[in-house]
Symmetry: C2
């Protein structure tokens, strides 16, 4: 039931895994597919529910968390730590290494858009952090927003 483009993304994900000596097993692939096809971030338990519904099986939470961690380590999935939810990376099919993404989270409808913020701005941010005596470790930002639809009611 996946769209052709979902299949393309999964194929590319498969390649990425193989190229690093990892295996995109059927369960891993299926969880990634669920996230790709979702129009909003899913909690771990929502992922489990959808998987169970699809497969008729019953995946234990531990397995789901392990698989999600795997997908994150391969940069196929991002965790939104402010929401405890997971989203498929929007750039799986990009050839070039992309820098860390930022997320715009609509506080009304929960939809999330993954964007790349201008490097100059991120540099300025890192500079502010350094002035305070800290070092920026990750530039993944989760920004509290309203999407266009929700903004106009």
């Amino acid at each position: 039931m996946s769209s052709n483009s979902t299949q393309n993304v999964l194929d590319k994900a498969q390649q990425k895994c193989v190229s690093t000596g990892a295996k995109l097993t059927s369960k891993r692939s299926r969880l990634l597919e669920l996230l790709i096809d979702s129009d909003k971030p899913l909690s771990a338990y929502e992922v489990i529910d959808r998987y169970n519904q699809f497969s008729g099986q019953s995946m234990p939470p531990m397995s789901a968390y392990r698989i999600l961690d795997f997908l994150i380590s391969k940069q196929l999935v991002h965790k939104l730590s402010s929401e405890n939810k997971y989203v498929a990376c929007s750039h799986i099919t990009c050839e070039h290494e992309h820098s860390v993404a930022q997320f715009l989270i609509c506080r009304s409808c929960q939809k999330v858009k993954e964007i790349m913020i201008d490097a100059g701005i991120m540099q300025g941010l890192a500079h502010s952090v350094e002035e305070a005596g800290y070092q920026l470790q990750s530039s993944q930002l989760e920004l509290d927003c309203l999407c266009q639809q929700c903004a106009t009611h």
Copy 2:
């Protein structure tokens, strides 16, 4: 056992509450004091534990969450949503209205520094967000960092 400066902050917090018609009750004040005196963010249950130890009473979770929500609504406390922890605001004694704060969270020792980021940078950030068709609702950033001590081992 509070230092004089803690008392000053509590007095100022009291004033802020009264000026908006709210009451800083003894429990609210005590929870705020615990957070002020802590050198790192505390989870709700850590706050409860410390309160119980101090008072010999047993505060139910619901009460703690309500009190924390109250303190947040008065801008006396911030919630770090990426960590599910709470910190006292660093600017309670500031007279001027301060804009939203950003937090540098050391991934190694968990200490948190509250800073104000240059308005120009935040504007640039908001601009990037608008280009993506979203509106920035809050500029509270939680940045994954290393503090100076942890960076040098």
